[in-house]
């Protein structure tokens, strides 16, 4: 390893040094291809983010892939209903590692304004591991870009070895998640208990 001050000095002299990890993560973070996948209102803002004014292409993420097999990032943009939830999980399972999820908008995080509905899933993190949440209803396109930058930072910081290495480099880590089934009254099971462990919050009067 080269220490930081030496590296700065070398960069000043015109010598660029890097590590395999940095090069690998640099490549990954600058070509995050999202899945072309819109659920509701937030999808329109997602499209707006990919259009001329906000231009998500400046972050290397304009290549919206129609097939999950070619995508790195799932932007859950909108309300996930109970009828749609199995399909969302299945799509995620079909994506190759490494894969990430941005939960865009209040509905995707928690059910949002529609959480009182009988057919609304109260947050996609009941079934899938979310990397970045964006509150807002809908979030502005800039907020999506900001979340994308947060995700890039997260990718950049991932070590390739050791216990904190990302899931795709860990043979024992789960790559596929439980797909819920449509039951007679509700989804079965109603959450993936391995993923979904909300804190206990008690309200007094």
């Amino acid at each position: 390893m080269i220490d930081a001050s030496l590296r700065q000095e070398m960069a000043r002299q015109g010598v660029v040094t890097t590590t395999v990890q940095e090069l690998y993560n640099w490549g990954r973070k600058n070509s995050v291809w999202p899945l072309q996948f819109g659920l509701a209102c937030c999808a329109i803002e997602m499209i707006a983010a990919s259009m001329a004014r906000f231009d998500i292409a400046r972050f290397g993420a304009e290549v919206f892939r129609p097939s999950p097999r070619q995508a790195d990032l799932m932007i859950v943009a909108g309300t996930v209903t109970k009828k749609m939830a199995p399909q969302v999980v299945r799509l995620y399972n079909q994506m190759p590692e490494p894969k990430y999820i941005i939960a865009m908008g209040a509905c995707a995080i928690s059910g949002g304004p529609f959480r009182a509905g009988y057919n609304v899933l109260k947050g996609i993190d009941r079934y899938l591991p979310v990397d970045v949440h964006i509150p807002g209803c809908p979030p502005r396109p800039e907020a999506l870009l900001e979340a994308l930058m947060a995700l890039q930072k997260k990718i950049d910081a991932q070590p390739l070895t050791g216990p904190d290495r990302p899931r795709h480099l860990d043979a024992n880590a789960p790559g596929e998640y439980l797909v819920p089934e449509c039951g007679e009254h509700d989804l079965v099971p109603s959450s993936n208990s391995q993923l979904w462990q909300p804190p206990v919050l008690v309200r007094g009067e």
């Binding site: 072309q36 819109g38 509701a40 209903t81 799509l91 509905c107 304004p113």
Partner: protein, 376 residues
């Protein structure tokens, strides 16, 4: 050499394909179960409900005021017209009058919404035909300008939550009318440009002419409304029939199609945008002064007398109605949305039969559905 057995018949069977709910061209989470003979559609059954987020049930537990922001999220491209349809129904139910300035502002924002919807629809339709990006990008460029206006007026780009029972939430900010006039003046040249790009294009014509023909009689019986109905040659525009709001005061024509195919549906929408520009010019010129909300109208704790009312407007997609039943309580006893998108897809199977799979995508694009409204 491989011997070829000429006696073996090629086995033919029908193929069932599920398009959606995740499909690149389904305008959201819409699913069609299509039965194909080769490439030809022999049966098509739409499957709904992937975005059924219980708007009606939630509205029946919420106060009348709290339902306004939810209506924004029905047809999320046209929040303003949704607001208007809902407030119109509540005004009918509770007998609230709207001052003239508010009526004019409502017309202005609704026609701007129509511009957004129709130009984006043309972009999405072309995207479905394979013109990836370009027309949609031009449409969104213009949309952003109108959204800036809406944001300055209401504070939000998409979910405006602007109208209130008896008027509008706030008056136009200073300079807004001039900004709107500039945008209206620039929108005509943009449409010319847009048409030069698209209307004459031979590929667009080949893909749309004679595809998905809808007869006027079937359209009426199936409850098809909006530009789809008028593209089939039926003259029925609720802005003219009911003359709600201030629409009776403006001179505008209703564009009609002749054949009822995809091209006519595209063309009727382009022409409607030009008529909208005429309405906007008149409304912005003649905008009266005065209050923007009836000072007697209640905001909170609205409890209409027991009864019911059905109010409808011409939204960019068709007839958007709200049917409300009040039992005298603070929440509506029954809150029903009459969604134009859902009822317009009733005839989807009739339009698609005999066409190829690629045409299904184009026909669906020309029906113009938004899933937030189809499933609610």
């Amino acid at each position: 050499m491989i011997a070829i057995d000429n006696d073996t018949e090629v086995k033919q069977e029908l193929l069932e394909v599920s398009m959606g709910p995740h499909h690149p061209s389904t305008h959201g989470v819409f699913r069609m179960n299509v039965l194909l003979d080769g490439e030809t559609v022999v049966k098509l059954k739409p499957v709904f409900g992937y975005l059924h987020r219980n708007h009606e049930k939630i509205a029946e537990t919420n106060s009348y005021l709290a339902s306004i922001p939810y209506t924004d999220r029905l047809d999320y491209i046209c929040a303003m017209t949704n607001n208007w349809a809902y407030t119109l129904s509540v005004e009918k139910l509770a007998g609230i009058a709207v001052p003239p300035r508010a009526e004019y502002i409502r017309v202005i924002v609704s026609e701007l919404t129509r511009l957004i919807n129709h130009s984006c629809l043309a972009g999405f339709l072309l995207q479905d035909m394979g013109a990836l990006g370009t027309p949609l990008m031009y449409a969104f460029r213009e949309r952003e300008k109108i959204l800036d206006l809406f944001e300055a007026l209401t504070g939000s780009r998409m979910m405006h939550n602007f109208m209130r029972f008896g008027g509008c939430r706030c008056d136009l900010p200073p300079g807004w009318v001039d900004g709107a006039k500039t945008i209206v003046a620039h929108f005509g040249p943009f449409l010319d440009e847009f048409e030069a790009l698209l209307t004459g294009n031979e590929i667009l014509r080949a893909r749309t002419e004679g595809v998905g023909v809808l007869s006027g009689a079937l359209a009426v019986s199936a409850g098809v409304t909006g530009p789809m109905l008028r593209a089939s040659g039926v003259n029925y525009d609720i802005r003219k029939v009911d003359a709600y709001g201030a629409y009776g005061k403006f001179a505008f024509r209703v564009p009609l199609g002749q054949r009822g195919d995809v091209f006519d549906r595209y063309m009727v929408r382009i022409l409607e945008m030009r008529e909208s520009l005429k309405i906007l010019e008149q409304a912005l010129r003649e905008l009266p002064d005065g209050p923007v909300i009836d000072p007697k109208a209640k905001l909170r704790n609205l409890r209409p007398k027991p009864g019911e009312a059905y109010g409808r407007i011409e939204s960019p997609k068709g007839e958007l109605g709200f049917y409300l039943i009040s039992d005298g309580g603070p929440t509506p006893y029954r809150f029903r949305v009459r969604p134009p998108s859902l009822i317009n897809v009733t005839i989807l199977e009739d339009l698609c039969l005999g066409h190829s799979v690629a045409d299904v995508v184009v026909i669906l694009g020309s029906v113009d559905i938004v899933l937030g409204e189809v499933d609610r």
